[in-house]
């Protein structure tokens, strides 16, 4: 197997045709009601700075005169109109948490793998909309950064980057979010994919920075099924995947309070992020990727 074949297979792993077909269908449905989401599943509301030639056609009465190609008219004495595909100026930033806790997975799929697939699907969607897509991975610092671009070759590089993403160290969103918010050139869409195992205050404050700068922010909060239900049955030593600290616990004794604590945190994110105009979706990594996206889009559609 040569390099090209392997790369193709990796891309297909992210761009599952079934998922893409469903997303495409969903795109048509959502286009009329969603504005601005991931370049909206409809045409961008912003005028583009750059244009890309699509085709010539004969002038028809009613066409704007500004679209006439005078050079062709001079050469051929015929009126032709230049048709352009607009390229939006929306920049979409995919922020993927690669901290050690993202390597957790009670099943086959870890949170990091799931987040990578989700980011890839979104990147592909953006690219189809001619939006510029960038990728930033972070743990307690920025691990890697790919500036937004709408070029098809950029998508390929981005998918490769997602496929080769490595697990980092501790989660600390303060520094990465601050740096990213300051470096954000213009308003756009920020997609934040993380398990949010950090102080909620720091996460919420960091995300609000993006919102203050005019960007739409979407948070995908990834949770493993075991994190959602705490299904363990025997007394165990639970080892923190980031710090290595161990904690002895009897699941039957602590389960209820664990779930209370988790739900309280989720409620807080839902409440405080929602009040800041930040979209927030809890995604169970056991649910299909397309299901997670549809669930989110549905939520967003009802909200607007």
């Amino acid at each position: 197997m040569n390099v090209g074949e392997r790369r193709g297979a990796s891309e297909l792993r992210f761009l599952d045709p079934a998922i893409l077909s469903r997303l495409g269908t969903l795109e048509l449905k959502a286009r009329t009601v969603v504005e601005g989401f991931l370049s909206g599943l409809h045409r961008s509301p912003f005028k583009g700075f750059s244009v890309e030639f699509a085709e010539y056609r004969q002038y028809l009465p009613g066409d704007p005169l500004t679209t006439l190609d005078w050079k062709v008219y001079a050469r051929s004495d015929r009126l032709y109109v230049k048709k352009f595909e607009e390229e939006t100026n929306v920049e979409c930033h995919l922020l993927l948490d690669v901290s050690a806790s993202m390597a957790y997975g009670s099943g086959e799929v870890t949170k990091l793998r799931y987040g990578s697939m989700l980011a890839a699907a979104l990147a592909f969607l953006m690219q189809r909309q001619r939006d510029a897509v960038g990728l930033t991975t972070f743990d307690d610092r920025i691990v890697s950064m790919m500036p937004p671009s709408a070029r098809p070759s950029h998508l390929h590089a981005l998918l490769v980057a997602l496929d080769t993403v490595a697990v980092g160290s501790r989660t600390d969103v303060t520094t990465p979010l601050q740096l990213l918010a300051e470096g954000l050139g213009k308003r756009g869409v920020v997609v934040f994919i993380s398990d949010l195992l950090d102080e909620p205050e720091r996460v919420i404050d960091g995300l609000r920075h993006f919102r203050f700068r005019g960007s739409d922010v979407i948070v995908f909060h990834l949770l493993d099924p075991a994190e959602r239900t705490f299904p363990f049955d025997r007394a165990s030593r639970f080892r923190d995947m980031e710090s290595g600290d161990e904690l002895m616990a009897v699941p039957s004794v602590v389960r209820a309070r664990y779930l209370d604590s988790l739900n309280a945190t989720l409620d807080r994110y839902r409440r405080e992020l929602g009040s800041s105009g930040i979209d927030y979706a809890v995604v169970d990594t056991s649910t299909p990727l397309d299901f997670a996206l549809m669930s989110y889009l549905s939520t967003r559609g009802r909200g607007r």
Partner: protein, 619 residues
């Protein structure tokens, strides 16, 4: 020497089982799996157990489990503290205090108490003292203790009763109380000769000495030794245990009602009966009392219970109910009418079903002399009467139809018969020891009875022939049906087929037959003290269940003859108990007394409860 000993130390090996939880703990020390987990921040917000605290808890659990197993082995090994009885190892004194009826003479029991108190005070201080009272049984009234005041107080509380003196039982009980210790048994008694009459030896270990503190017996004693009702008389028997004639007045009473008094003189070392004609029927308990200023007080009164129904109630069933049909039977029974004798009533067979229940319930014996008119209800009543313990006399004479009595349902008797041709015969008992014929001492005057006609009885296999005619055929057959008895005479009782009613043997035959048939319904009404379990050791009339009985002093206890101390000691057999066995018995009793195993098991249970609670927290 102070120390913990064990009755069954082998069980201590069970403590090795304590190694099991230790081994499990060591082998499974890291049993808890390590689970990598990401959402630790939520887990940390729960007050979960830290590893160090859990380790402490594990050790507590381990300790509790080990302790539970060790305590179980400890309890099963039956521990006891040898030191607890070490103070008694020097020996002990057991004081046996006679509280029988033979120490009830005036001033006699005060002497007993005084002597017993002296013995207690004079016992060596190093020795523990126990006090037992005894008559027919021995009871511990003060356990072995160095506390003399306890023993003295117990002696001061003692009272004599109506029990008979039984030295053997008392000595055996005292030896048990010593439990193998060397020691001394001091018997404070009147040394009554009849005290050894029980026929069993006193068993005293070799390391125990027996001393006697004898108190004086009265020189004379007058006792009421029996009381009964015969016919219309109340009869009390008096015994005079003295060298001189004893004038006495016997007072008969029924409860608070004085029935009368009889004055008489009882000959020296002899007996006499006081007979009081009763004006009416006496029912329930009654007494005969004699005044005796010098002898035992306990035997001055005798109790008896009169059934009050005037004796055995015989119901004669004849074909017509005419008195002539049962004339000879009635005459034979009315000779002894009243209490201790018989009551008689005649009834037609046809009237039997309609006889009221109250009357029929009092019937002891039914004599069937004729069966004409006896319907199924009458037969059923007869069958139920016999099954419930009644006595049935069937005279297989000309008026009794065998088919009627043997047909089912409501079969009254199992034996059938046929009337046979006339032939002069006599009869004789098949077994002269049978209660009906015991009085005649063999054939005797019965052989003078001539039977001109008779019935040929077909005796079932489970019946007994108790008299036969001279040709060998059954003359009297006994059946047992349910609780009752049935006697069949293969002839009549009304001077038609035989001359039996004219013979002198007829009356005693009828009396003995009726008494025998009624015996299954009769109940014993007199006992001596100690015979009835659960009753106080005193004479009197008591109710047991639904019936009244009289409890009296054993007449043997009224004999004041005494033996010497040497003769008393001579009656004591020595127990050749090996020392080891004695020690074993001692240890067992010591362990029984302390019951430390209970505390061990209780502690084990508490430990297990604690283990459960800690274990539940630990998961």
């Amino acid at each position: 020497m102070f120390g913990l000993s064990f009755l069954t130390p082998l069980f201590l090996a069970g403590a090795v089982a304590a190694a099991i939880p230790i081994a499990l703990h060591l082998f499974h020390r890291r049993a808890e799996p390590v689970v990598d987990f990401a959402a630790m921040r939520y887990l940390r917000q729960v007050p979960v157990e830290q590893s160090r605290r859990r380790r402490v808890r594990e050790f507590v659990l381990l300790a509790l489990r080990v302790m539970a197993l060790a305590l179980m082995a400890f309890a099963f090994a039956r521990p006891y503290v040898a030191a607890a009885s070490a103070a008694l190892a020097d020996g002990a004194t057991v004081v046996l205090v006679d509280t029988s009826a033979s120490v009830t003479a005036p001033g006699q029991f005060e002497q007993v108490r005084s002597r017993a108190a002296d013995v207690i005070r004079q016992a060596p201080l190093a020795q523990a003292v126990a006090v037992l009272s005894f008559a027919h049984t021995a009871d511990l009234v003060a356990p072995l203790s160095a506390d003399r005041s306890l023993a003295l107080a117990a002696v001061a509380q003692l009272q004599p009763g109506g029990g008979a003196t039984r030295y053997a039982a008392a000595l055996r009980r005292a030896s048990e109380e010593l439990a193998g210790r060397p020691g001394r048994i001091v018997v404070v008694t009147d040394l009554q000769e009849s005290g050894w009459a029980a026929g069993t030896d006193g068993a005293v270990p070799e390391n125990v000495t027996v001393d006697v503190e004898a108190v004086a017996s009265p020189a004379a004693n007058l006792a009421v030794t029996s009381l009964r009702i015969e016919g219309a008389d109340a009869i009390a028997a008096l015994a005079n245990y003295s060298a001189g004639a004893a004038p006495a007045q016997v007072v008969f009473a029924a409860g608070e009602r004085r029935l009368g008094a009889v004055a008489l003189t009882v000959p020296p070392a002899g007996t006499a009966e006081a007979r009081l004609p009763l004006a009416g029927v006496v029912s329930g308990p009654f007494t005969a009392t004699v005044a005796d200023a010098t002898g035992y007080a306990a035997d001055n009164v005798r109790f008896a219970v009169a059934d009050g129904d005037g004796g055995i109630f015989v119901l004669a069933v004849s074909s017509s109910g005419n008195p002539a049909d049962s004339l000879y039977l009635e005459r034979a029974l009315t000779i002894a009418r009243g209490a201790g004798g018989f009551q008689f009533r005649s009834i037609a067979a046809a009237a039997l079903p309609s006889l009221d229940e109250a009357t029929f319930g009092g019937v002891d014996v039914v004599a069937v002399l004729g069966s004409r008119g006896l319907d199924q209800r009458g037969r059923q009543r007869l069958a139920q009467f016999v099954a419930a313990g009644g006595g049935l006399l069937v005279a297989a004479g000309p008026d009794v139809d065998p088919d009627l009595l043997t047909q089912s349902p409501a079969k009254v008797v199992a034996t059938g018969w046929q009337v046979r041709d006339a032939a002069a015969m006599n009869f004789a008992p098949d077994d002269s020891r049978h209660p009906v014929f015991r009085l005649f001492g063999g054939a005797g005057t019965l052989s003078n009875v001539t039977f001109t006609r008779s019935a040929r009885l077909s005796a079932p296999s489970d019946s007994a022939v108790i008299a036969r005619y001279t040709d060998g055929t059954p003359a009297v057959i006994e059946e047992r049906t349910g609780k009752g008895r049935v006697l069949l005479l293969a002839s009549d009782l009304n001077y038609r087929w035989n001359d039996f009613p004219l013979q002198p043997s007829f009356v005693p035959f009828v009396h003995e037959t009726v008494r025998y048939l009624a015996a299954s319904r009769a109940a014993r009404t007199e006992y001596v003290v100690g015979e009835v379990p659960g009753q106080a050791a005193a004479a009197g009339a008591v109710t047991i269940g639904t019936r009244q009985v009289a409890i009296n002093v054993d007449p043997r206890e009224s004999d004041p003859r005494v033996m010497t101390s040497e003769a008393f000691r001579g009656g004591i057999a020595r127990l050749q108990t090996p020392e080891a066995l004695q020690a074993g018995v001692s240890d067992r009793q010591r362990e029984d007394g302390q019951g430390l195993w209970r505390y061990g098991l209780l502690l084990m249970l508490l430990t297990l409860v604690g283990e459960g609670l800690v274990g539940r927290r630990a998961g």
